[in-house]
């Protein structure tokens, strides 16, 4: 079992015992199992996958830092963390489009990097949100006959 803590500046999002967690880091996605080596890694915007009781939970995180301590403790300090259920797909899509437009308008390298990071964040949110609504399935009224 992993002792897992996920905190954002505003709140403690999750504190639980889990089986494993996949973390999007700057060096690629890593999966942490119990007895992992002590590690500190920078986060990338992406999806955080928590596995417990045979189920997978998806969260969208933007930047931050992840820390693995001895004794199977994992702590994640994220700038933001949202569960799939909390993300409104339509609004996330609109935000992504706005970010894409802003990136095209970016004048210097710094602006471009900022907007690229924003875009990556929105893409990650969308990806997580779509986990709940798979694209091949259209939610709607069920035919009666």
């Amino acid at each position: 079992m992993l002792k897992f803590k996920l905190a954002t500046p505003e709140r403690l999002v999750l504190e639980a015992e889990i089986d494993s967690v996949s973390i999007p880091t700057q060096m690629g996605q890593i999966t942490v199992l119990p007895n992992h080596l002590p590690l500190v890694a920078n986060l990338e915007p992406g999806e955080l996958i928590i596995r417990r009781n045979g189920r997978e939970e998806y969260l969208a995180v933007s930047g931050g830092v992840a820390q693995v301590n001895p004794g199977s403790q994992v702590m994640i300090l994220a700038d933001s963390a949202e569960r799939a259920e909390e993300i409104d797909v339509a609004r996330a899509e609109a935000a992504r489009e706005r970010a894409a437009v802003l990136q095209l308008e970016a004048k210097d390298d710094r602006k471009f990097a900022d907007t690229a990071a924003q875009l990556a964040k929105h893409l990650a949110r969308l990806r997580v949100a779509r986990r709940r609504h798979p694209p091949h399935h259209t939610p709607g009224p069920v035919p009666e006959d």
């Binding site: 803590k5 905190a7 954002t8 500046p9 505003e10 709140r11 403690l12 880091t25 700057q26 060096m27 080596l37 002590p38 590690l39 500190v40 890694a41 920078n42 930047g63 931050g64 830092v65 820390q67 693995v68 301590n69 001895p70 702590m75 300090l77 700038d79």
Partner: protein
């Protein structure tokens, strides 16, 4: 001696004042609770990020990071002052402004040019009453629930510091201890001193570990992790300061309004007593006059 009509009018006016102070007391109590809750909710992050920073400071030489480096000569300093937008909160604003003014006088005497950055309208007294120069004023929101709300302040401070516009950035706010105790405080925000940050965190979060942790692998490198973490710690400190200030403000206002309500109650009972005495005296006088008149007629 006031006439009974005057006393009645005064009772009425004190009553309506009491109604207002009572309402403000209740509103502040609710706001205080929510401000305290937000302040508590963000402490986990503050605590964890501090512990990590301390670990990093041990593996990376402090002088390598520009945000950690002390400037040899401090010529220009920015002071971020967090006050309330409104008054009627006891000595909340006055105490902080006094404290900041004393601090600024000390800095000016030491040959440092100080610029003030305001958050909250009440801080304007620093210009009008003490004549210090204000370079920027941020709009103070009614409640803070998201770090994005204070991000511009922290980002601008970091930018100005790195561009050498300022050699030091100081944060002045009111620290919240409990409902009855709040204290004005100045802390150095930039350059970040790990020891000072520890003190700041311990004031709000309580005792922390020694940071004697086993060796970690840092990905990509300790330097890059520090680059990512340090600005976040600074942003967090500004956010935490606004939360502390909000909690202090609402507590101070609640206590002030409670005192006002109590004082109004005392005043009303005093006035009612003298009103009744006056009424009694009037009745007695009239009775004597009537019986005197009757005696005069019987003769």
């Amino acid at each position: 001696m006031a006439t009974s009509k005057e006393i009645r009018r005064r009772i009425k006016s004190v009553r309506s004042t009491r109604q207002i102070t009572k309402a403000m007391q209740l509103v502040s109590a609710v706001k205080m609770r929510s401000a305290q809750r937000t302040a508590l909710a963000s402490r986990t992050y503050a605590k964890l990020s501090w512990a990590l920073l301390q670990q990093l400071a041990q593996v990376t030489p402090e002088h390598l990071h520009p945000l950690l480096t002390n400037r040899t000569k401090v010529a220009k300093e920015a002071v971020v002052v967090i006050t309330a937008n409104r008054g009627l909160a006891g000595s909340f604003n006055a105490a902080l402004i006094e404290h900041v003014a004393a601090y600024l006088r000390g800095r000016v005497a030491a040959g440092v040019a100080c610029d003030i950055i305001l958050l909250g309208k009440r801080g304007r007294a620093l210009v009008t009453r003490y004549g210090f120069s204000v370079v920027a004023e941020y709009e103070r929101l009614d409640s803070y629930t998201d770090m994005a709300q204070t991000l511009p302040i922290a980002r601008q401070a970091i930018k100005d510091f790195l561009e050498k516009r300022y050699d030091q950035v100081t944060l002045a706010y009111t620290e919240f201890y409990n409902t009855l105790k709040q204290e004005p405080l100045t802390v150095t925000l930039l350059p970040t001193k790990v020891s000072a940050l520890k003190a700041a965190m311990e004031r709000t979060v309580g005792a922390l570990g020694t940071g004697q942790e086993p060796e970690h692998i840092f990905e990509p490198t300790p330097q890059l992790v520090l680059d990512a973490l340090l600005p976040r710690c600074i942003e967090m400190q500004v956010y935490q300061a606004t939360l502390e200030s909000s909690a202090s403000e609402h507590s101070a206002r609640m206590v002030a309004m409670k005192n006002a309500t109590d004082a109004a109650n005392d005043l009303i009972s005093d006035l009612t007593l003298s009103y009744n005495q006056l009424r009694q005296a009037g009745i007695t006088r009239e009775l004597t006059e009537i019986s005197a008149g009757r005696l005069a007629l019987e003769k």
